[in-house]
């Protein structure tokens, strides 16, 4: 068995893109991806683009929590109904 690390090509790196950004890869595969990203400017840029997209998504779609009025009504209904 060889200790030489497997070298990913661009297609293999891109296939692992989301799993990498979602932190779902095992440490050794993660290292393989990072090794490729250090060598390949285009893939590096692509990963950064996708990361920007995911951050944007999280920020934009997370904006709508329950406001204080909604919370008040939910609690009122919740325990009001239950206590009856």
């Amino acid at each position: 068995m060889s200790d030489a690390p497997h070298s990913l090509d661009c297609r293999e790196a891109i296939e692992r893109l989301y799993e990498y950004l979602d932190q779902e890869l095992t440490p050794d595969v993660r290292q393989e991806v990072e090794r490729h990203l250090r060598m390949c400017g285009k893939c590096h840029q692509h990963f950064e683009f996708e990361q920007a997209f995911l951050r944007f998504l999280e920020a934009r779609a997370r904006g709508r929590g329950a406001g204080p009025e909604v919370k008040r009504r939910v609690l009122e209904q919740l325990f009001g109904t239950e206590d009856r």
Binding site: F56, R73, V74, E82
Partner: protein, 188 residues
Amino acid sequence: MTLTTEERRRQFETEALPHLDAVFRYAHALTGDAMRAEDLTQETMLKALRAWHQFERGSNARAWLLTILRNTFINEYRRQQHHGETVDLAAIEPYHVFEDVQDVDPEGRFFASIVDDEVLHAIRALPEEFRDVLLLSDVEGFPYADIAQMLDLPIGTVKSRLFRARHALQHTLYDYAVEMGYVKRRTS
């Protein structure tokens, strides 16, 4: 062991209520309407309180609440909901938006110009099976294994649906950004 009403209320306040924002947010993403989201939130929290004895203490309360919410939505709300436009996944070109914008906006700055309502609209227009995984992953931040458990799917299916959902959404938002003049489409 049976809990008294007071004990149950105390546990519920400590473990379930901190997730009220997440419940409302998920409800809003599913219904697309603040009033319907509030109704769905109320119904979910009431069901959760009544079923509190079934909640396994120490397990993930947010995942438990969102599962109740999703089931309630599927059973009661979806029937009444008008389905507008949907994304035809088969029609999506199998290329990354990055390929198109790498020369003009490789950092994806155009995303910042897109308003929240447009994002939520685009998420709601996704086919249900794709919207589910996208919301649980990208909005709620659950790991693949938790999503697989919540939706009762193999992890591989979660992964592939998430990949396709993100692509579909990215394409929709990119097309919108091009239409609004936030980014130029590559012509070559």
